[in-house]
Point group: C2
Chain length 698, copies 2
């Protein structure tokens, strides 16, 4: 089969993925929405989500147009216009995929609640509600991966040169930065603010309709967790794919190797199709188990197809080993995250127990476990790197310069990322059930329906979010590592013919002061970047607290439930704060690599690229894992342990949970786009940096 034909098959599979998403969307929207009062709540959430997204997209769009012009002009001798078109395409692909996922989520949420309401009995109700929520989530999974794969394969089909595709990567990065960071500040500003007012200030339970911030909170789940995660994994998917293609291209490997990352992506979609029927609740009602079954089936089917494919195409078995290492790494991340964040295991239970000694000990122990949680994943990544390199290169020796070894690492990363189709389906399930739970609460559905259907589904959403976040971080780290290697190899190829290469490569020695300085800048960057996000959450929360106080004072009968709060204004205020607070960290992420590149040169910049991964990875894991553990420790107490709801332990756990919100949903996940945007912008502007940097050597 010719390369052209293989590419056409890949394109076809990407289209099938989008078609599946479309059909699912239609069947979901055909479901009944439920009675008026539920629809009213759902409509409020929809309006809020659309208002946020349209504002966010408008701002992001303006920035994208400006950057596209800069790219077209600054890189005009390196195919600037093509890069700019790719940049816009990558950006729009992410925007559209995220939007589709979110639009379906905000339709599915109320329908899940309605299915729960209408169920004949609790068991079939749970089954149907679960399946509907998962189908809703799968729209995000298949549309994100579909768009990403379609764009990459069409661009490659037309251009036949991955270097000209680096615009796609940066476009995806930019959208991801907006969606993850802007959306992250929004979602947790609203959540923390709603909690503070509702729980701390006015004594209202969660999701109480009298709380003016409650809709803003539910909106946050969709814009942060669905659209944000969608953009994040879309970006990582594109970045991994293209940087692996770049490596194959620069290493002058046969073209089948260049399109191998795309092929791995396509076969994972097939595997996911086959695995879909495995996602069903057994008699045990173990919801998380049903999702894991689907994931496991995807991995197994993908592994089998991959093996057959390697056999047919006569590809080296070292790369097959590398790909399987990528799958295993996904499994490891899931297991470790489960251990640290589920209240079935020691860490979360210890945090819950220590809450009896007050909030300070809750925080100390949560930080303690968060600090610990990156160790095993790091060991896993290390083993995967070494084995993938060794399996592909046959040696750990780098004496001969770049080799198949680095491509092996890239293939491991591409295989891990190919599973995003299923991971995202599971992830987007979370906000739907979270919202469904909120709607059930606000619409005052019968208690048994909430206790037996919507609440258990909502609780699982917490775990899915933690697990997929850990996967997203690990794959972002691995993808950036591949991108970093692509940067170095691109540097080599850009400069190779014009000067003494071996002298120049010496500059990348780890004890070069420029490399050291770059690494230090890179390592400090995730700390500096997230510092703004932490404080932004505080500010956004404060803005909504003030607004709720104002509404309580000015709207007569609000607390008695006689008058309706102005949900829309609360949404508007957090939206404005979130986008304003996004400004500084957003600029930092984009300007730092360019400033280092143009002032200190491409060698220091290489240090930055890797430094940001080095500290960003453990910091992000610490934040997301510690945060999820606090969250579930609170849930564990609410189940009646250590005094249950309203006890001193519960109050302490609420403090932990609120801190956890900021670290796990805003600061921690935002490190992903930071790491990637720093890397993509550097590789895109590398030719300009080489020719214009102040401290360029030689």
């Amino acid at each position: 089969m010719s390369i052209d034909n293989i590419l056409l098959v890949i394109i076809l599979i990407a289209v099938l993925s989008l078609l599946y998403a479309l059909i699912q969307s239609i069947t979901i929207i055909r479901e009944e929405e439920g009675p008026d009062h539920m629809r009213a709540i759902a409509n409020a959430i929809r309006e809020g989500a659309k208002a946020f997204i349209s504002r966010e997209y408008r701002t992001a769009g303006i920035v994208a147009v400006i950057l596209a012009i800069i790219i077209a002009l600054a890189l005009r001798s390196e195919g600037g216009p093509i890069l700019a078109v790719g940049f816009i395409a990558g950006f729009l692909g992410s925007a559209v995929a995220g939007l589709i996922g979110m639009l379906v989520s905000i339709q599915a949420n109320v329908r899940v609640a309605n299915r729960a309401r209408k169920s004949k009995d609790l068991i079939s109700g749970l089954n149907y509600a679960f399946s509907l929520a998962f189908r809703g989530g799968s729209v995000t999974g298949f549309s994100v991966v579909g768009f990403a794969l379609l764009l990459m394969s069409v661009f490659y089909y037309v251009l036949r040169n991955p270097v000209l595709m680096s615009g796609l990567m940066f476009g995806a990065s930019l959208m991801s930065l907006f969606a993850r960071v802007g959306g992250g500040i929004y979602t947790k500003g609203a959540d923390v603010g709603a909690d503070l007012v509702g729980k701390v200030g006015l004594g209202l339970p969660e999701d109480d309709p009298r709380n003016p911030a409650v809709i803003a909170d539910n909106v946050g789940d969709n814009v942060g967790d669905t659209a944000g995660m969608a953009a994040d994994l879309y970006e990582t998917y594109v970045v991994t794919g293209i940087s692996a293609m770049l490596l194959a291209y620069f290493l002058h490997l046969p073209e089948i190797y260049v399109i191998l990352p795309l092929l791995i992506g396509a076969l994972a979609i097939i595997a996911a199709f086959i695995a879909l029927p495995f996602v069903r609740l057994g008699k045990s009602k173990y919801i998380m188990g049903a999702l894991y079954k689907g994931l496991a089936a995807t991995v197994i089917v993908a592994g089998v197809i991959l093996g057959v494919l390697f056999y047919i195409l006569k590809l080296p078995s070292g790369l097959l080993v590398s790909a399987i290492l990528g799958y295993l790494l996904m499994a490891l991340m899931v297991i470790v995250t489960e251990y640290y964040t589920s209240y079935k295991f020691g860490p979360t239970r210890t945090i819950a127990a220590s809450s009896q000694s007050g909030a300070a000990i809750t925080i100390i122990n949560g930080l303690g476990y968060g600090l610990q949680a990156s160790f095993i994943p790091a060991i896993g990544i290390i083993i995967a790197i070494l084995l993938a390199y060794y399996a592909s290169a046959g040696t750990l020796d780098l004496a001969s310069g770049f080799s198949m070894g680095v491509f092996g690492i890239a293939i491991a990363s591409a295989a891990m990322l190919s599973l995003a189709v299923m991971i995202l389906s599971i992830d987007a399930f979370g906000p739907i059930t979270d919202n469904a739970g909120g709607i059930a609460e606000m619409a005052q559905l019968p208690e048994d329906i909430r206790d037996e259907i919507t609440d258990p589904l909502d609780a699982v959403g917490n775990t899915t979010k933690a697990v997929t976040k850990a996967y997203a971080i690990a794959s972002a780290a691995l993808a950036s590592l591949v991108l970093f290697t692509a940067y170095l190899i691109a540097f080599e190829s850009y400069i190779g013919d014009s000067t003494n290469l071996s002298t120049l490569l010496n500059e990348f020695l780890i004890y070069n002061p420029l490399v050291i300085v770059g690494l230090i800048i890179g390592a400090v960057l995730p700390f500096f970047f997230t510092s703004f996000l932490m404080r932004a959450v505080g500010k956004a929360a404060d803005s909504i607290v003030q607004e709720v106080k104002r509404q309580v004072e000015t709207i007569v009968g609000l607390l008695e439930g006689k008058a309706k709060p102005d949900y829309g204004r609360a949404v508007d205020i957090v939206t404005a704060t979130a986008l304003r607070e996004f400004l500084v960290p957003g600029i930092i992420a984009i300007v730092t690599p360019l400033a280092v590149g143009f002032i200190l040169g491409p060698i220091a910049l290489a240090g930055v690229l890797f430094g940001v991964i080095l500290s960003g990875f453990p910091l992000a894991i610490m934040m997301t894992t510690g945060g999820a553990a606090w969250d579930n420790a609170k849930k564990y107490i609410e189940q009646g342990n250590f005094g249950g709801k309203g006890s001193e332990a519960h109050k302490a756990a609420v403090v932990g949970d609120t801190v956890g919100d900021a670290v796990k949903d805003t600061a921690g996940p935002a490190i992903n786009p930071l790491v990637k945007v720093v890397n993509t912008i550097s590789i895109l502007f590398l030719p300009a940096i080489i020719s214009a940097s102040l401290l360029m050597i030689h």
Copy 2:
């Protein structure tokens, strides 16, 4: 003047430094201790401190003897016995210096309180108490630096080979690990436990004599802040000095360059002698200002002497610039830390204000500022590295391999460290005044004496501790960087003649998978290491809480003040817990570099050495700065802001303060010895690793 004579002058200055410490100790002990009830309190603190130290030293001693035997045997072909003797000498020097400092502190504390009690008027009382406390602190400063300089110069005088002195470094590292980590767990376990029981549980004020944990808490100040910090800076001082000497040696520079780091240390002692009279309170009673005056005078005098010395010895001006950069870096660390942790400035005030919204927002904002605080120091370090390198090498190009540039960085580091004599004097002032405040409280001295003398002195102790901690972290980072360079250059020299050097150096390229893997391990290490410390504080605090509860239940009349609590048992319990909890992190710090070295080889190990600095630096700054800001935010509220003591804001700030205790006094500072021990053990065992590692290349 011959090298021999210069060395003798340096030795003489080191002896003078120790003599000064001896004379000060005698004059302090001659001061009156005060009435019986004050002496009883002081005696309880002394007994507790001695009990902890003797247990800690016994355990550390056993480990040291075992390691000395291993060193003597494993490195027998590289002068093992000499290295082992150096190791023991370095270890004992640290132990003795720390012990002297602590013994004087626990004599000075009650005498400061007594001076305050006996003062004719409040102004002269403050003056005298301040001067006595500073003189007490200066004993630590001059004895630590005196011992360190004496050992290094005598060893060099005898051996004339810095390679044989690397045992000294590791000995200092081992003691520092015990003192910082074991002492750190002890001090904050006791503090947090005492706070939880005293403030949260039983409603007793701080330092109330009815609280059985109160003596343990005061003991903690001495064993953690005095002995711990003394061992930490002793280690950094020795490590910086010897690694700078190693660089000069391996670069084959003239011998005057080899002893230049010692000379810089000696002249800083002279400068400190001259600066001592500047440490006096003006009419403004601005205590911190008096300390800063002394520091500024030391820097200015040292700079002048250094300039004269460089002129006489005809040393290159580039190295003078490097040294002055080291002084400036100290000043930068002081200013930045002041900004982030003093309640005169925005960050701490913002945290205090946000406490009105509850403990969660206090934590979120404190973490936010902590994450931010490493940025400016990192930029300062980067500029210092680049300028010191450039000033000394005349270029930023590394094409010619190692050069004077790296020695310039080492000299900057040595100059920064030479100021430890004054920094430590200021630092050890803190625990003395902290204890004096506690004794004044427990002995129920008149309110105006506490309000006007002991409390203001105590409050300054907080700032001095934060400032010196930041200095210690930055200098540890810089010292480790120099040590890391020494490791690489030592590697080059060990292997240089036996194989193709340029091929081998290629292995240290930043994109070598072994380097990448090493960097990842190193970057995760500070996170993993501190995770145990965070949880250890929780456990130690819990153990003392349980003990206090037991005493309250079993000792009749305890809470009414009719019966005395069993202070000793409380001390014993925290001591045992602290040393037990030290075990795992201690083993991790020592075993990780050896395991990586012997399994993955010296190239991966180089990655570990630098990786641990890269993430350790921002993490440590985040912890110490964030913690101090929480502490002072609480103090700011206690001054009557945002509702003052007992308000909701105050309760939230207490949570922040308690979390801050664990991060700023246990986990954060423990990163210093981790970073250094990993580096010193690696350089010591490098010859053995080169000959025995499994994955050694070629």
